[in-house]
């Protein structure tokens, strides 16, 4: 299905009931663009604690992966009125989130586009490639500084665009991330197949 533009996109923001697209709060109407909605940077970040980990073994046993991920990363908060910015250093990858809480109706999906004006300064922004119909929450953004200069990021900065498309039919939302209000830690440990590749489950034929 095609990307929602103009009146169609605005109409979904104005719609009643189950057809409504929520973007809460929009600080200004100008956040609505012809074919997207500007999203601001939230004030929570998940950063790596490199000093405490030698490596992150992605195929370790599930509880171990979960523990490692929590050990490897920590949440930091930069309240809006504290005036303190987040500094993203060259080569650093962190998880941030949109300030806006998004609620997609069951017949719309969305994707996140970074801003070219930020990319030209070295900052790349990626969200989930596709945000499923029915998703509700702030959107976790992977932020990386590919430049040579530390970048000072103030919560509230317009960081990305939400591009919304229609779907054919409706599907109930059944994903791992329910109603987040800040960036979410990876839930890789919930992958059912990890145990196979970690050697915990052996082939019945022995081999």
């Amino acid at each position: 299905m095609s990307v929602l533009v103009g009146d169609e996109l605005e109409g979904r923001l104005r719609a009643d009931g189950v057809k409504r697209l929520y973007v809460i709060p929009m600080l200004e109407p100008a956040q609505l663009r012809p074919s997207s909605i500007d999203l601001r940077l939230g004030n929570q970040f998940i950063v790596a604690r490199n000093a405490v980990m030698s490596a992150l073994d992605l195929s370790a046993k599930s509880p171990e992966v979960r523990k490692q991920i929590l050990q490897y990363q920590e949440r930091m908060v930069f309240p809006f009125l504290s005036g303190k910015p987040f500094v993203l250093h060259p080569g650093q990858l962190v998880l941030g989130s949109s300030f806006e809480y998004i609620a997609l109706p069951l017949d719309l999906e969305a994707r996140i586009d970074g801003r070219s004006s930020l990319a030209r300064l070295g900052l790349t922004v990626a969200g989930a490639l596709s945000i499923a119909p029915g998703f509700k929450g702030v959107i976790t953004l992977e932020l990386a500084n590919h430049g040579n200069t530390p970048l000072v990021l103030h919560p509230g900065l317009i960081i990305a665009q939400l591009v919304v498309s229609g779907t054919q039919g409706e599907a109930p939302y059944s994903a791992r991330y329910l109603y987040p209000i800040g960036p979410q830690f990876s839930k890789l440990a919930e992958d059912k197949h990890l145990s196979i590749w970690a050697g915990e489950v052996h082939s019945p034929s022995g081999g």
Partner: protein, 466 residues
């Protein structure tokens, strides 16, 4: 004592102050939700400067200076220990999404010359320590032989410490108990016109009662007790009513949640003489009578088209809560528990007689601070609807003409939605406790969003239009 001891004590004082300054340096660079903890660091620092200046003028040859040096040690110990308020108020220890909103609200209520530091404590309670600046001034002036305290303390706003139980930091609706703590800041304003006369009446009536007993010792003891019992009874009741005035039914909701874990009819006793919880709930329920009527008899349909629940269940749930509150309030078991204790009976008769005047004083002199659920009912209904749909309850209406919700409406909606959740009427797709956790976080998100909109929304729009 020898001069050696004086020199040693003076050395120790300088060392202690130096250690506290280094603590301050360490604390200054921590992350806080607002700038208020840094103001407290400054206040403590300014106090230490004054104490050091006083100590520098003490000499071992003066007979009383050793004692004064010891006094300064005590001051440093007391004031320095207040760094703990700063240390505990770092961002992750607080409900940071609502701290700046609360601080702004408290400041508006109390006046712009005051600031409020919201900090957690392990004690399961809410509390307020008013005006640390004045406390420090009093402590320091005792060491100045009647000379005025240097002006540096007065350059800072009055700092009040507001405490909440750490383990409940995300239990956002319980924080409506802070309305009561704000009420304590109203006490002196009310008490200066009324307390003296009421205390005299209480003493006279207690004395008259004991005349017949012909037991002067018991009479003296009873008269002595009447003062603190009366003061505590009036102050706590006034603070409860202020909480209800500022925050509406959410204040009663939180007080009830707090109270229901305790014995309702424990009579006031030494050393604090707190009133019975039943008595307090009765007064709040009476003050909020109109709002409770609205909850009991109003149509509270927050159901949007897609929700299957019939309207009546939601209204019934609120009506039952009101009935429960009124049932508790109607019982006079607290009065029965006080029977046979003449001081309590006499004093509480005076307190109860005074309450309509306190209510009237609030409704007239503090009318501008009142939160009215009746006025905000439509908005609150929409916010409850947002919570049941797992959205932050922050606005109503159709974009772009949305109405931003004040944090008090958000809190009232959160309380109502909690009643629906406990009753099993909403969030059936999730375990109830998990669903409550989600609702708490959505409420915190809403409070933060509302506050950011309030502080930055118009600025952002003005900049866009330039």
């Amino acid at each position: 004592m020898s001069a050696d001891v004086f020199v040693h004590l003076a050395f120790e004082l300088r060392r202690k102050v130096d250690a506290l300054r280094r603590d301050a340096g360490r604390l200054e660079v921590k992350d806080y939700p607002t700038g208020t903890p840094l103001l407290l660091i400054k206040l403590i620092g300014a106090s230490l400067d004054i104490i050091e200046a006083i100590s520098s003028k003490l000499v071992p040859t003066e007979p009383d200076h050793l004692q004064r040096l010891r006094g300064l040690h005590t001051l440093v110990n007391i004031i320095g220990a207040h760094h703990r308020y700063v240390e505990r108020s770092v961002t992750p220890n607080t409900p940071w999404s609502m701290v700046s909103c609360l601080e702004d609200f408290f400041r508006n209520v109390a006046g712009v010359s005051s600031v409020f530091l919201v900090r957690p404590m392990w004690n399961y309670n809410y509390a307020i320590i008013p005006n640390l600046n004045k406390y420090y001034e009093t402590l320091i002036s005792g060491q100045l032989d009647g000379k005025p305290v240097p002006a540096s303390l007065g350059e800072l706003p009055d700092i009040n410490i507001v405490s909440f139980p750490y383990q409940e930091r995300l239990n956002v609706v319980l924080h409506c108990c802070l309305g009561h703590e704000m009420g304590h800041t109203f006490w002196s304003e009310w008490a200066k016109d009324h307390l003296k006369a009421l205390s005299a009446t209480a003493q006279q009536r207690v004395a008259a009662h004991y005349v017949a007993t012909q037991d002067p010792a018991a009479a003296a003891q009873a008269i002595k007790l009447s003062g603190p019992i009366l003061k505590r009874g009036l102050e706590e009741t006034l603070a409860d009513l202020v909480g209800a005035h500022l925050l509406g039914p959410s204040a009663l909701f939180a007080t009830f949640e707090f109270a229901m874990t305790r014995e309702m009819d424990t009579v006031p006793s030494s050393p604090y003489f707190y009133p019975c919880w039943r008595f307090r709930i009765r007064q709040m329920a009476a003050f909020l009578e109109d709002e409770l009527d609205l909850l009991k008899n109003g149509d509270w349909n927050s159901v949007e088209g897609q929700c299957p629940k019939p309207v009546s269940e939601e209204s019934r749930c609120y009506a039952e809560w009101v009935s429960e509150i009124r049932k508790i309030a109607l019982s006079r078991e607290d009065s029965a528990a006080m029977q046979g204790q003449p001081v309590l009976e006499i004093v509480y008769e005076i307190v109860e007689r005074e309450i309509p005047r306190i209510m009237s004083w609030l409704k007239t002199s503090k009318a501008g601070l009142r939160y009215s659920l009746r006025d905000e009912k439509g908005l609150v209904l929409q916010l409850v609807s947002m919570l049941r749909n797992h959205l932050p309850p922050v606005e109503s209406g159709q974009w772009p003409d949305v109405k931003r919700a004040d944090f008090r409406s958000i809190l009232n909606a959160a309380c109502l939605s909690k009643l629906l959740r406990i009753d099993g009427l909403i969030d059936k797709d999730q375990p109830a406790i998990e669903a409550q956790g989600v609702a708490d976080l959505l409420t915190l998100k809403a409070i933060e969003s509302s506050h950011v909109q309030q502080r930055f929304g118009s600025l952002v729009q003005q900049e866009s239009q330039r």
